[in-house]
């Protein structure tokens, strides 16, 4: 099972200790039952709810949250109640006035809104699996994409310059580079080549709105990752069409057969 820690190394509140569910169109129930939540007198529990067109913060008294309980939250102000997500934070105000997050939950999804609640394995983990053994690999060691190829086979140099190999992998290389740019959002000021890559994928159909939106999400959830994958596939398809990949392959086959 994946460890429940966030990117800063903080242990997250286990998902089974709290939940949100719609009672009806106008009310939501928040339930909690913590096993090891530590609070001090200065800490606060904040439940943040968000949905299309709305965002709300609800402060839960510390003394109430230590015992199992539930609360009903009115959704009168909400434009859309489907797909509401939540996040519980335990916050402590420092002497400098900064509100530090001591502990937090994973994203809470409505228990009775299955379309929004489905979970899956992180695509990033699958994608970046170092154990993957392949004849070619796209690496980003120096902040820019580099295509590495295996020389295991005797005919490797011929393979990598062959039409069939190039027409097969180049669109996917383009897809992977797009994925890297949109998920890593590398600093353009550190490497001028990165700007050229951005320019290239913008020419291949990435709009400014899409770029802003997709790179703006630091903690990318499955929904956003799926959108990124889809956009990268579109970019790769445009690349393939622009460079007549299929035509080149077809011509090659015709020549071979002729």
């Amino acid at each position: 099972m994946r460890a429940s820690i966030n990117q800063t190394g903080r242990k997250m509140i286990p998902a089974d200790e709290l939940s949100i569910q719609l009672i009806d169109e106008y009310n939501l129930k928040f339930k909690w039952n913590f096993s090891s939540l530590k609070l001090n007198k200065d800490s606060e529990a904040i439940l943040e709810l968000s949905a299309i067109g709305n965002s709300e913060r609800i402060c839960i008294p510390s003394e109430n949250i230590l015992e199992p309980g539930e609360m009903i939250i009115s959704l009168d102000k909400y434009i859309v109640t489907k797909g509401i997500t939540g996040r519980l934070k335990i916050v402590s105000v420092g002497t400098d006035g900064i509100r530090y997050i001591l502990n937090e939950s994973k994203t809470l999804r409505l228990e009775n809104d299955r379309l929004e609640g489905e979970q899956g394995k992180s695509l990033l983990d699958v994608y970046n699996d170092p154990q993957l053994r392949v004849p070619w690999q796209l690496a980003f060691d120096d902040g820019e994409p580099v295509l590495k190829v295996s020389d295991y086979h005797e005919n490797a140099p011929k393979i990598y310059t062959h039409t069939i190999f190039q027409t097969s992998i180049l669109p996917d290389v383009m897809r992977q580079i797009s994925f890297w740019l949109l998920t890593e959002d590398p600093d353009e000021s550190q490497n001028s080549k990165v700007s050229l890559w951005w320019k290239l994928i913008e020419e291949l159909g990435l709009s400014l709105e899409d770029r802003n939106y997709l790179t703006g999400k630091v903690t990318k959830d499955l929904e956003v990752l799926n959108e990124i994958m889809l956009k990268c596939q579109e970019i790769a398809d445009t690349f393939a069409v622009k460079h007549n990949i299929l035509q080149k392959l077809s011509n090659f086959i015709s020549e071979e057969e002729g």
Partner: protein
């Protein structure tokens, strides 16, 4: 001049949405001339009594004010705030007014600008629903969100694109922080140099700062002044009014 006083507005049915979607794929002049028929032909929509004045506007804020004035007093419309048919009809009806006196860069653009995409990750792109939702959320002080309400309604601009794309920021004190940093209080327009991706830019504020500290700091529970006080030095140049 595109000036209309409506006694009722429409709510596209599925045929109306389908026709509008097909129309949006045509060249701009054909789209502009085609919306008139689409918003008048009762075959394509259901009519809802509602007084609304449509005329050329200067900003997303002005547009949101007009929409709010009509919607807030109408019980039926309040229940249709996430309705694709209503927002799409409104967008079609407003289209000629939005293009009037618009910047040269104005274009029809992607479908989500006109037909409300009810996905959580795209709805804000709608040219009418986007500013309306932001305005509604930031009441009674919508001008605090001028960073995402101040742009042209038809060409929202990079500042709007950056801030509105992150709903955690757009629907929190983050919008006010962006307003203080990037909007000139005298003109209501973006400050010089607030575009791009360089140090102190809106892109840095969202992707490289607020979305990062969100893991350790509950900035959404702090005042704009408090958030400004913890920003790195790269933002100092924009703190000066």
């Amino acid at each position: 001049m595109s000036h209309l006083k409506l006694k009722s507005i429409g709510r596209f049915n599925s045929l109306g949405i389908s026709k509008f979607s097909a129309l949006l794929k045509l060249p701009m002049q054909e789209v502009l001339s085609g919306t008139d028929d689409l918003t008048r032909n009762p075959e394509f929509f259901e009519s809802i009594p509602c007084e609304m004045e449509i005329h050329p506007i200067e900003s997303r804020l002005e547009l949101a004010e007009i929409l709010h004035k009509s919607i807030s007093v109408n019980l039926k419309l309040k229940k249709l705030l996430s309705d694709q048919g209503m927002w799409s009809w409104l967008a079609a009806a407003w289209m000629p007014a939005l293009f009037e006196n618009s910047p040269k860069s104005a274009k029809i653009g992607e479908q989500a600008r006109w037909i409300l995409d009810v996905q959580k990750t795209r709805y804000y792109r709608h040219l009418l629903a986007g500013p309306y939702f932001i305005y509604h959320h930031h009441l009674p002080h919508p001008k605090n969100a001028l960073s995402i309400l101040g742009g042209s309604a038809i060409v929202p601009g990079e500042l709007v694109g950056q801030i509105a794309a992150s709903s955690d920021i757009a629907f929190s004190v983050g919008a006010e922080v962006a307003t203080i940093l990037y909007v000139d209080p005298k003109t209501g327009r973006p400050k010089k140099g607030s575009g791009g991706a360089g140090p102190g830019s809106p892109r840095r504020l969202t992707a490289a700062y607020l979305n990062q500290i969100d893991l350790t700091v509950d900035y959404r529970g702090m005042s704009a002044k408090e958030v400004l006080s913890i920003l790195p030095k790269e933002f100092d140049k924009f703190k000066i009014t």
